[in-house]
């Protein structure tokens, strides 16, 4: 009995294995051949159809209704295309506000000293890009490299940090049985807030308010740090400490404030996604693990983590995308000038800065560079996440 089963189950002789290099070219050849064969059959069918005289039976199968006049045919044809009428409003709006701007951004960023209002420009070239990257715009606006560095540092610290914290909280949330909903609701509250309004509240935690009338508030955070013997730090103000690397300034105190705010405001969404993913894991896995006597950490690393890997990678990708476009939180915390001399500028902040200065050429160039950077990050994201998320 057993032997019979084994005989049935034995695999057939595997195909001959070439080395990787040769195999690649064999596959490539097969693919090219397939492409031509497809095209050939399509063309052959088309021409055969043209010269083929239809028999009476085929005609009867094709159309059995009454003969239509030309006008009626046209009307019916038009009616079958009435879907265009439904999508027309959306299409018109998208043409004006989405499709046209894409083309305009690509064209206008190559016009030198371009003024959006008058449409005048001074020849074509890559002058805008060179000046933006060099920081040589001559208008006293934000510096591109500073903005890029700020955005990258803030994004690549705050996103992994908040994802890790969200993972911890959702594991904790998943392991309790009572008042789960209440905790979930409270933890979700920060999501619904306005970045500017809450940024202002966070600024009061860190702000040193002047020393008038012999009263001085050093802010909640400085008081807590004071218990451990740390001198008050001016977190968000003019005397905020920073490191200087060449022309680049690293205002670390402001980074800390921004990262704390971003973790706080980014947590709710991440907890919501991770927690609902954990809830939907089949309970049988856990029962099986219990029977096998697996410890809690083993369960976490070998069951829970792999099962929610797609969600984690989704959160990392969307988090990084969102982080590259951050702006409102910076304005809420540091005001419209984005810190002192734009030292907390972000890439989106850079665009708006130059729109407001009336230098649309630089704004176009900046937006195109932002687009390219986001595309590069998307590409690497896809590459990494495709490898990791095998449990999808």
């Amino acid at each position: 009995m057993m032997e019979e089963n084994d005989n049935i189950g034995t695999p057939q002789e595997p195909p001959k294995k070439h080395n990787k290099f040769v195999q690649y070219f064999i596959n490539l050849g097969a693919r090219i051949k397939g492409w031509f064969v497809d095209k050939y059959t399509a063309v052959k069918d088309f021409f055969c159809g043209l010269f083929h005289k239809k028999t009476e039976e085929e005609k009867a199968l094709e159309y059995s209704g009454p003969q239509l006049s030309r006008g009626e045919k046209f009307r019916r044809g038009l009616k079958s295309q009435s879907g265009w009428l439904f999508v027309a409003p959306a299409l018109v709006l998208m043409a004006v506000f989405t499709f046209y701007p894409i083309i305009a951004a690509f064209v206008n960023s190559f016009k030198q000293s371009y003024s959006g209002m008058t449409g005048k420009f001074n020849g074509w070239g890559i002058d805008n890009f060179v000046r933006v990257l060099k920081g040589d715009t001559g208008t006293g606006g934000a510096d591109f490299v500073q903005c890029l560095v700020n955005t990258l540092i803030l994004t690549f610290i705050s996103v992994p940090l908040s994802t890790l914290l969200a993972l911890l909280i959702s594991v904790a949330l998943n392991s309790i049985k009572r008042v789960q909903k209440a905790y979930q609701t409270i933890l979700f509250l920060p999501y619904l807030t306005n970045a500017l309004a809450m940024g202002a509240v966070f600024a009061t935690f860190f702000k040193i308010i002047g020393t008038q009338n012999n009263t001085e508030t050093v802010g909640l955070v400085n008081i807590v740090l004071g218990w451990f013997g740390v001198d008050p730090i001016d977190w968000v103000g003019l005397r905020s400490p920073h490191w200087q690397i060449g022309s680049l300034s690293i205002p670390w105190a402001k980074y800390v404030v921004t990262i704390i705010y971003e973790v706080w405001s980014g947590l709710p969404f991440k907890i919501l996604i991770l927690f609902s993913a954990m809830q939907s894991i089949n309970k049988q896995y856990y029962d099986a693990a219990k029977v096998d006597g697996a410890s809690r950490w083993t369960v976490l690393w070998h069951i829970t983590a792999p099962m929610i890997m797609p969600q984690i990678s989704y959160l990392l990708v969307t988090g990084i995308m969102g982080g590259m476009k951050q702006y409102s939180a910076i304005v809420g915390l540091f005001g419209v000038t984005m810190g002192q001399d734009y030292d907390m500028g972000t890439m989106v902040g850079y665009l708006y800065n130059y729109i407001e200065l009336g230098q649309t050429g630089y704004a176009f160039a900046g937006s195109l560079i932002l687009f390219v950077i986001i595309m590069i990050i998307t590409y690497f994201n896809n590459k990494i996440t495709k490898k990791r998320t095998t449990y999808r």
Binding site: M94, F99, N194, L196, A197, T215, G293, Y327, I355
Partner: protein, 373 residues
């Protein structure tokens, strides 16, 4: 340590916070030491741990009752630790809201005390009245709250309603109707989702300025009416409705539009409600675009919050002429933080109330779409 207690004795809440921190620390140390002790023990006598379920290890070292008790204690300890951790997180998540509410009713003097009070000594509801009646300030013109609220509500309602109609109609056409080039159109729409929205803003700004549409409601509504993601979401929802329903409706003599209104919309109501709520929240929170294209009195509520608030109001207050209490200390040109906090409250609280009533729809919508509007 003594310093900590001393500082805390001034204010009850500092004591509470520090006690909480100490408890968390002790529990963490306890849990860690239990773990470390177990690891050390396992290193000393490997077979004793490995043979926990191994009958060959012998019965003499294994006391079932004791083990059960130990398991139980461990379980309780773990639960306590988890609850403390979650409570701490919830407190930290809620702290900014609490601080916002309390700061908004403090007097400016109390707000600037060196040790901030956790609960205001005196409630100054006047702050709200002052914020409500801000018309212009010396530190940059700011519009009145009434005007701004009107703007926000008109733009919010119009953009939500028109946007919803547009989304439903487009999604219906893409899901149910057959026309040439449908798939190409849909692919093109989806492709635009890849491109960051900031790329459009610069061109749109120029378009709007050239069309002389600055300082209108139209300019706040039109560019954001079409939202490709919601069209995609709703189309998928529509596709899930079985085709047999459509045929049944046709037999009963329902037109395409009738089918859309009477069958499809009720069936996809939860998604539609989520989309409506998220769109309204998105409009409420919009900041950058209104700031770029419109002047102060045409902007939205978030723009209003970023302005400076001073205590000079151009109206007679119900408290008589003596309304300007801060003048002698700070002058009338300095923005006051308490007033700002009151403004922040007025902007944030409607959203929180909305959340309390529509929690289910908002959370579902968010987990589906992952956007704010």
């Amino acid at each position: 340590m003594s310093n900590l207690i001393l500082a805390g004795s001034a204010e009850g809440w500092l004591v509470a916070l520090s006690v909480l921190l100490i408890i968390v620390g002790i529990v963490a140390i306890a849990v860690m030491s239990v773990r470390i002790a177990r690891i050390v023990r396992s290193m000393r006598t490997p077979q004793a741990v490995v043979g926990k379920w191994d009958l060959s290890a012998g019965d003499e070292g294994f006391d079932a009752e004791k083990a059960q008790k130990r398991e139980k204690t461990k379980h309780i300890l773990k639960n306590v630790f988890v609850y403390i951790f979650l409570t701490l997180c919830a407190l930290l998540a809620f702290l900014p809201f609490y601080w916002m509410l309390m700061s908004s009713v403090k007097t400016e003097m109390e707000f600037r005390e060196s040790v901030p009070t956790f609960f205001p000594h005196t409630f100054q509801w006047k702050n709200y009245w002052m914020v409500f009646h801000q018309v212009t300030s010396t530190s940059g013109a700011n519009a009145s709250f009434g005007q701004i609220l009107l703007n926000t509500i008109i733009v919010g309602l119009l953009s939500t309603f028109l946007g919803l109609v547009l989304i439903v109609v487009t999604a219906y056409a893409l899901a149910r109707m057959e026309f040439k080039g449908k798939n190409i159109l849909f692919a093109l729409m989806l492709a635009t989702m890849m491109i960051p929205g900031e790329l459009f803003t610069v061109s749109n700004y120029i378009t709007v300025a050239k069309a002389h549409m600055n300082n209108t409601y139209t300019v706040l509504i039109l560019p954001f009416l079409v939202s490709v993601y919601y069209i995609y979401l709703l189309r998928n929802n529509f596709m899930q409705i079985p085709n047999s329903l459509y045929q049944a409706a046709k037999v009963d003599g329902l037109s395409d539009l009738g089918y859309l209104i009477k069958v499809m919309i009720p069936l996809t109501a939860p998604t539609l409600i989520s989309i409506t709520l998220l769109r309204f929240i998105g409009t409420w929170n919009s900041y950058i675009w209104p700031r770029l294209v419109n002047e102060k009195s045409w902007q939205m509520i978030t723009n209003w919050v970023t302005g400076g608030f001073v205590d000079r109001v151009q109206a007679t207050s119900p408290w008589g002429d003596n309304w300007s209490i801060y003048d002698k200390f700070y002058g009338d040109s300095q923005p006051l933080d308490t007033l700002k906090m009151a403004a922040v409250c007025m902007v944030s609280l409607p959203l929180l109330v909305l959340f309390i009533f529509c929690r289910r729809y908002i959370m579902r919508g968010v987990s589906k779409s992952g956007t704010k509007g």
